[in-house]
């Protein structure tokens, strides 16, 4: 630019060509790094420079336009700067319009939030361009609301689109919202439905945040849609996008790489809550200095040693408990029974075994009669206690009920949770009977309702891999760990095989392969855990084979949560079944699995799936190496 003194007469189109050629060759950063800040300065107040700049970009040949425009969008310090630099390029040039409205927003998703804000802000700043803003919003909403997009596109892309939608919304003015209110409403309704259907909590939250924002924009007065979800950094960031960013400060605009500061400036100030609860200060009675003759001294208190806390006694016999839970109208007694049940079961195993199936039935159908704290956990612990006391008949009952009519999804998932918890307890002799904190702190497997994250699996797998490395004993004696027979051994099959049997037989109210893919996902994860816990049991090979077949039939399932579960099943399979047996009995299946895993690593849209598949491939490699290392 220093080549351009005062009266310039050189052909701008030549410069445009140079610019375009440089950008397309990949040198955007360098040239624009110099060009853009200088142009920004020059165009700030000088109209002529603005027009020169516009001419510059307009003359760039179409085939290089994309690179140039993209470069500008990325380097510009803010929406208004972009507006000064590009002018109405998007309106005049078809290619630029395509890049800005379609390519950057819908076909790519790697750009930062700041880039999105620049772009959409730029569109909103001129009346000619605002029409584009509206079309852009409509297209974004269409994509956001399409169920196939929600199911198949990666979560990162969905986040990107959600951000774009929110920024668009922040720029819309009242009359514009009025004109497209109906369409906004319809797309929101459709979109929110697809999002809530998804099994991944992140997507559900995205849907909820966007729907809330849309609703708040179109219903400025009156009730607004409000979801309940846990706030985290992502949702907070999304919500902050709804407020339009302030134009950047007028001052030396450095080629800033920290544009995130602008996003922070837009965060709404937290309103100071001046509400103080109206509790008056208490006046401490100075009893000591009260020298008045206390006529109360004449009154002699009676013996009050019998005055203790009123405790409703729970029944002492298991059969009485069943009676109370099924019939009793006495609510206090019911409450006391629910609280005392687990310890009663554990202390009276023989009595429990007599009525185990009946008790399991009662517990499965038990509904909260009064408001007890931790009712769900109390019931679950009682169920686990019954199951571990009398595993075979109760597991038979529970697995059969899993596939029966007329249970709610919640109940079916409860059955799965109980089976896993009991399996864990049975397979670890130390935990027998000591269930103090087992509700909250599972050592390895967390059964929080939302914990379908495979991160736990990675940790477990890592631990296992570590444990296979050789360690040099330093000579100190190891403390003898408490040991006992593995009680899961005799019952592992009873837990596992009934669950895997009927998954492809739909019932009128329950279709695992159809709508109820959330339960399918949970079932798959449960099978993986059971497989993992079955290490060192006799049935493990048979379980492994059955599991492998099961995974094979479902491997192309649409729901990424299910696929994650399938991959974790493979992990536990590889870890639990003894290596020799794996490679002798299941060679062909393993080879097929290996090629499938390779496919997943390359092509699966979900990041977690790809990671799990890679882990599995590594495990397979380790396995082979280990066997090759052993002299046969």
């Amino acid at each position: 630019l220093s080549l351009f003194p005062g009266g310039l007469d050189c052909s701008i189109s030549f410069v445009s060509h140079v610019l375009g050629k440089v950008c397309i060759l990949g040198r955007q950063k360098e040239i624009l790094g110099v060009l853009v800040p200088q142009l920004t300065e020059l165009t700030k107040s000088d109209c002529i420079w603005q027009r020169i700049c516009w001419r510059l970009v307009e003359c760039v040949p179409d085939r290089w336009m994309e690179a140039v425009v993209l470069g500008f969008v990325q380097r510009a310090a803010g929406a208004d700067v972009l507006s000064r630099l590009l002018g109405n390029l998007v309106v005049k040039n078809k290619k630029a319009q395509f890049v800005v409205t379609q390519k950057v927003l819908l076909l790519q998703y790697g750009h930062t939030t700041a880039v999105l804000q620049n772009l959409l802000g730029y569109l909103s700043l001129d009346s000619l361009r605002r029409a584009l803003l509206l079309t852009v919003l409509q297209e974004l909403l269409e994509t956001w609301g399409s169920s196939s997009a929600v199911k198949h596109s990666p979560p990162e892309q969905q986040l990107y689109i959600s951000k774009a939608i929110l920024i668009c919304l922040s720029h819309l003015k009242e009359p514009e919202i009025e004109s497209c209110r109906q369409e906004l409403l319809t797309s929101m309704m459709e979109g929110v439905k697809c999002h809530l259907d998804s099994s991944l909590p992140q997507l559900r939250r995205l849907g909820m945040v966007v729907a809330e924002s849309i609703s708040s924009k179109i219903n400025t007065e009156g009730p607004v849609l409000k979801f309940e979800y846990e706030e985290d950094d992502e949702t907070r960031e999304l919500k902050s996008l709804l407020v339009p960013t302030q134009p950047p400060c007028v001052g030396p605009c450095l080629p800033d790489d920290d544009r995130s500061e602008k996003a922070d400036a837009a965060q709404p100030l937290v309103p100071e809550s001046n509400k103080k609860s109206h509790t008056a200060a208490s006046v401490t009675p100075d009893e000591e200095s009260d020298a008045e003759l206390d006529s109360d001294d004449d009154l002699i208190p009676y013996d009050m040693s019998e005055d203790k806390e009123l405790k409703i006694k729970a029944p002492v016999y298991i059969r009485d408990c069943i009676e109370v839970l099924t019939g009793s109208e006495d609510v206090d007694k019911w409450e006391a029974t629910v609280k005392a049940l687990e310890s009663l079961i554990r202390r009276n195993p023989a009595a429990t075994r007599e009525v185990s199936v009946e008790l399991a039935k009662v517990l499965l159908h038990l509904e909260e009669k009064t408001c007890i704290e931790g009712f769900v956990e109390l019931r679950q612990r009682a169920q686990v206690a019954v199951l571990t006391t009398d595993p075979i008949p109760v597991s038979k009952y529970l697995t059969s009920q899993f596939y029966s009519l007329n249970y709610s999804l919640r109940q079916r998932m409860d059955i799965l949770d109980v089976l896993v918890l009991a399996a864990q307890e049975l397979s670890c002799p130390r935990f027998r009977g000591k269930t103090k904190d087992s509700g909250a702190q599972k050592p390895r497997i967390q059964l929080l309702p939302e914990s379908d994250s495979p991160k736990d699996w990675r940790r477990i797998v890592d631990e296992r891999i570590k444990s296979k490395t050789r360690r040099f004993v330093t000579g100190q004696c190891h403390v003898e760990l408490a040991s006992g027979p593995n009680e899961f051994n005799s019952v592992a099959g009873h837990f596992f095989f009934p669950l895997i049997q009927h998954f492809d037989r739909p019932l009128t109210t329950f279709d695992l392969l159809g709508e109820d893919h959330l339960v399918l996902g949970r079932l798959v994860h449960t099978l993986g855990v059971l497989m993992y816990l079955a290490v060192n049991t006799v049935a493990v090979t048979a379980m492994g084979k059955a599991l492998l077949e099961f995974v094979w039939t479902l491997r192309f399932h649409m729901d990424s949560y299910v696929r994650q579960g399938l991959l974790s099943c493979i992990s536990s399979l590889l870890l639990s079944v003894p290596a020799q047996l794996l490679l002798t009995d299941m060679t062909e299946e393993l080879l097929e699995t290996q090629s499938w895993l390779g496919d997943v690593v390359e092509k699966d849209p979900d990041g977690d799936c790809r990671r799990l598949a890679l882990q599995n491939l590594l495990l397979l490699e380790n396995l082979k190496k280990k066997l090759e290392a052993v002299p046969s």
Partner: protein
């Protein structure tokens, strides 16, 4: 060595329904018989003869709906009763009559007991919860004219009034009202002007019952929690928390201070009646007789201090009558 708590002097049976309210009328001269009025869940008001320990009459005026408040208006011939049929009935019981002379339709669907205050010869003020959710209506009896309606300001979110107490510092001075609300606050109202004088958050749960000693300007309130709160009224008519007493079991249905202001009694959800000294709220006795929640306690108005009684009505259909701390 403390003595074990006394047994009830006698027990009145025969209501065949939970007893919700009690009121003594024993101040008459001989040959007037001391009586105890009780209101039950089946809508009957029993008039108990305290000499024979039998119910002389049963009054049916609330159409089988629970009677939750009975009071006398100067002597046992004029009775006021409040029931869940949303009515307050005024009875004339002189000379063996059992008729309802008048009634007030309050349209109140809750359980807030009304409060009576004698302001002049034959003139009474009655405060009762009204139709509106947070409102308290003050009526003049027997004319039934409305003196004022006490409405908390918009957004106060006090909830329903739960218990009321009308009082005045001395005869002829301004009547004031203490009201305990669903949100746990106690509010002091100036009845004549209809304004709030002071408000104090006493509990986290609804205030179940309160009583006030105008001489010492101290009051006490209980709720479904495990505490009793004692608060005081200073010269600027402001309520302040004075003391808190922790209970062994949660839930208080009724509190009443004996007319001589020496002791107070509480009716508990844990089936027990507790007696405290009023001066320092020192626990004095725990009377454990009933087998279900005690709904109400009441002290008698005997002229002879030695004859004073305490009565408690419970969900187990029985009324226990006690003679305790009568020597002072």
């Amino acid at each position: 060595m403390a003595l074990p708590p006394p047994d009830p002097q006698f027990v009145l049976r025969g209501t065949s329904a939970a007893v919700h309210t009690l009121h003594f009328s024993c101040a008459g001269q001989e040959p007037d018989i001391p009586v105890l009025f009780s209101g039950s869940e089946n809508g009957f008001i029993h008039v108990w003869n305290l000499k024979t320990h039998r119910a002389d009459t049963a009054l049916d005026g609330h159409g089988q709906k629970s009677v939750y408040c009975v009071k006398t208006m100067g002597g046992k011939d004029k009775l006021l009763s409040q029931g869940r049929d949303q009515r307050i009935c005024l009875w004339d019981l002189a000379e063996g009559r059992t008729s309802v002379t008048d009634s007030v339709f309050t349209e109140h669907v809750g359980f807030c007991r009304c409060s009576l205050l004698k302001v002049a010869q034959g003139g009474w003020l009655m405060a009762t919860a009204a139709k509106g959710l947070e409102e308290v209506q003050v009526l003049e009896l027997p004319s039934k004219t409305s003196v004022c309606t006490l409405k908390p300001e918009v957004g106060a979110k006090l909830g329903m009034p739960m218990c009321l107490k009308l009082w005045q510092l001395s005869c002829g001075s301004q009547p004031l009202l203490l009201a305990g609300y669903e949100d746990g606050s106690v509010v002091l109202w100036n009845v004549t002007m209809g304004k709030v004088l002071s408000q104090l958050v006493c509990h986290q749960e609804p205030v179940m019952s309160l009583d006030f000693d105008s001489e010492k300007a101290k009051g006490i309130s209980g709720s479904s929690e495990k505490v009793l709160r004692i608060w005081s009224l200073n010269e600027q008519q402001n309520l302040q928390v004075y003391k808190t007493h922790q209970l062994v079991n949660a839930g208080i249905s009724d509190i009443t201070i004996r007319p001589d202001k020496k002791i107070l009694a509480t009716a508990g959800w844990d089936h027990r009646i507790r007696i405290f000294g009023w001066k320092k709220v020192k626990p004095l006795a725990v009377l454990d007789y009933h087998t279900a929640t005690v709904h109400c306690v009441s002290f008698s108005d005997h002229r002879n201090p030695r004859e004073r009684l305490l009565a408690a009505g419970s969900k187990d259909h029985r009324i226990s009558v006690w003679s305790i701390y009568t020597e002072t």
